[in-house]
């Protein structure tokens, strides 16, 4: 079967791969590139565990074909901390005990990051809306909502 070339920027570094046509971005990231931070929770677009940021927008990597991402700029949770320093969202998830099993966490953090990138001081309702495509079965959501609000406050204090 003919392989298809695809090139994109992943967490700041250039990636070039030959993939099978029809490969999802989730498969390409996990199986070809080795970034396993996006998780395959449903492959249906109903759980959000595979969420990544493509060209500044939140997307589901399980429903995105890798070859449609040629030239794109892609971010995943594994690229969020720089030189071992946690991103404020990651810090906030730790401080508010917002992770239990951790399977939904990378997707939640991606969804939250896009929100804070566009809306640095979100209301609770905006946080709820931003997380609404991501399923968590352990926490009951409240600690995650608190984590995002905490990160937003930390950001605004740093900016001030």
């Amino acid at each position: 079967m003919a392989k298809v070339p695809v090139q994109f920027t992943l967490n700041g570094s250039e990636k070039a791969e030959f993939i099978d046509s029809g490969t999802t971005l989730l498969q390409a990231l996990r199986d070809k590139i080795g970034d396993t931070s996006p998780k395959g929770g449903c492959h249906q677009g109903t759980c959000g565990a595979c969420s990544v940021i493509i060209d500044g927008e939140l997307r589901l990597s399980c429903l995105t074909l890798a070859e449609t991402c040629d030239g794109a700029v892609i971010s995943t949770t594994s690229g969020l901390s720089e030189s071992g320093v946690l991103h404020p969202l990651q810090r906030a998830f730790l401080d508010t005990f917002a992770t239990q099993c951790g399977f939904c966490t990378p997707g939640m953090i991606m969804a939250a990051k896009v929100l804070l990138d566009h809306t640095p001081n979100p209301s609770r309702d905006e946080v709820v809306e931003a997380l609404s495509g991501n399923i968590c079965r352990c926490t009951g959501y409240e600690p995650i909502i608190q984590a995002v609000l905490t990160a937003a406050r930390a950001n605004s204090q740093n900016a001030a």
């Binding site: 099978d20 029809g22 996990r30 199986d31 080795g34 970034d35 396993t36 931070s37 996006p38 998780k39 395959g40 929770g41 449903c42 492959h43 249906q44 109903t46 759980c47 565990a49 995943t76 949770t77 594994s78 969020l80 901390s81 946690l86 969202l89 990651q90 998830f93 730790l94 005990f97 992770t99 239990q100 099993c101 951790g102 399977f103 939904c104 966490t105 990378p106 953090i109 399923i135 968590c136 079965r137 352990c138």
Partner: protein, 455 residues
């Protein structure tokens, strides 16, 4: 969250260094950076994908299975049917001597629920496995099915599982687990009111965000490493050893980091067949449930029916309680006989009642086998018991919370299963709830204690 340290302070030491301290979780940094390794994060070159051909019927005889077209499909490496499984008929609780073996790894001659595994296809890609699975031809003779527990228990109902011979689990105590305490009929005879009510639930899925699955890699020395999200490592290893008739020393299970379980990952379903595939092909194999499989194929919490008959006095004392519980096991036992029995040990709830009669049945129907879930054997029973308590209180015109104080168990009270109560704290929970919810109760209830008087 608030810790109310004023309760039970006399029996507790609060000066510990590490216990009672809100230490950060050591696993969370891995979670927030995406570095925690779940089983599916292990990838091996040349890994094969296993897809299951499943029964489209609730109950059917298998006349024939034709895999010839599927075997020729590009990318297919191996196709497994019942004859390939060394010990195909098994039951997981055999490890604790709860039999009989009543379930097939791959269906042999018959399917007993819609979705039952019939043929396993191993292929180079997921897509090739899906395509080949579509080419497997199974000729079925559809049989009458039974879905309702009451129907299943009637004479002449379709027999769900021949290994049992009847549509209920046969305990050493007979068709149900029994608890007999006091004289329940005498209790009813002396009661001011009798209330008999029936409660029902339907199956509930654990719905962990990570689906059930495993990745198996041959170690090259006739041993196999199985990366799994099972909730019970050796339970799975030992059952796999039985099913594959393989010494346990050949099996190496690695797990312990699971994306949510809630009881849904205590069945031994994916590992044996995946290891068999790895053994017969010499290749790594992954078998990961799709979300649809997790929702409809993996065992749910059983549907239950609970019938409660109570005798209650005008002053609020429950003097007799009879509970009949039915657990819908689906087509196979898995953990359900244990769960139904656990219900028998739990009733009549955290209340001291002098006359108790309990029967709990484990019933077979043609549906997805049920199994353990958070609150196994108790959750639905508690729903029934506590709604019943509300009805009883209203029946005698009493405040529902005060009514519970009157009947609450305390240290030393004899339970229906003939164990004295120890370490009770129901009364204190209710006292605190009364305060927190601004639901006042009479001072005499706020003065009560779970401690034995004078002890």
């Amino acid at each position: 969250m608030e810790l109310r340290k004023n309760y039970f302070a006399d029996v507790r030491k609060d000066d510990l260094n590490e216990i009672g301290q809100p230490r950060p979780r050591s696993d969370s940094p891995g979670h927030v950076t995406g570095k925690t390794a779940f089983f599916a994060d292990r990838n091996f070159p040349g890994i094969l994908h296993l897809k299951m051909v499943r029964s489209p019927h609730h109950h059917a005889r298998i006349r024939s299975i034709d895999t010839s077209e599927a075997e020729k499909h590009p990318g297919v490496v191996k196709i497994l049917t019942a004859k390939d499984v060394p010990h195909n008929v098994y039951t997981i609780l055999i490890l604790i001597q709860v039999g009989p073996e009543d379930e097939t790894v791959l269906a042999d001659g018959k399917v007993r629920w819609k979705g039952e595994a019939v043929v396993a296809v191993l292929a180079e890609t997921e897509r090739a496995a899906q395509e080949a699975a579509a080419k497997v031809k199974v000729d079925y003779e559809v049989l009458p099915a039974v879905f309702d527990m009451e129907e299943a228990l009637k004479p002449g109902a379709p027999l769900v599982n021949e290994y049992h011979g009847q549509n209920y689990y046969l305990y050493d105590s007979g068709e149900c687990r029994k608890v007999r305490f006091g004289d329940v009929e005498a209790g009813f005879a002396g009661a001011d009111h009798i209330l008999e009510e029936s409660y029902q639930s339907s199956p509930i899925e654990h719905a962990p965000t990570e689906t059930t699955g495993c990745v198996v890699a041959p170690e090259g020395n006739d041993r196999f490493t199985c990366y799994t999200n099972t909730q019970a490592m050796f339970f799975t290893l030992d059952n796999t050893s039985i099913i594959l008739q393989m010494p346990g020393s050949k099996l190496h299970f690695v797990g312990g980091t699971v994306g949510g379980g809630f009881g849904g990952k205590v069945d031994v379903i994916v590992e044996p067949i995946a290891i068999l595939g790895a053994k017969l092909t010499g290749r790594p194999v992954c078998f990961i449930y799709s979300r649809e499989e997790e929702m409809q194929i993996s065992s749910p919490r059983a549907a239950e029916k609970v019938v409660i008959k109570d005798g209650v006095m005008k002053d609020g004392r429950i003097v007799a309680r009879k509970v009949t519980g039915y657990t819908d096991a689906g087509a196979y036992s898995r953990h359900s006989p244990y769960g139904a029995q656990k219900g028998a040990g739990h009733y009549p709830g955290p209340y001291t009642i002098p006359n108790v009669w309990i029967d709990t049945y484990c019933v077979y129907t043609n549906r997805t086998p049920s199994s353990a879930m958070r609150g196994f054997g108790v959750t639905i029973g508690d729903f029934a018991l506590e709604v019943q308590m509300d009805k009883l209180a209203r029946l005698i015109g009493m405040d529902p919370l005060e009514f519970r104080f009157i009947n609450a168990y305390r240290d030393g009270d004899m339970k229906a299963h003939r164990q004295p109560t120890e370490g009770a704290a129901l009364i204190e929970c209710m006292q605190e709830a009364s305060r927190a919810a601004n639901w006042p109760v009479a001072e005499k209830y706020m003065a009560m204690s779970s401690y034995v008087k004078g002890a």
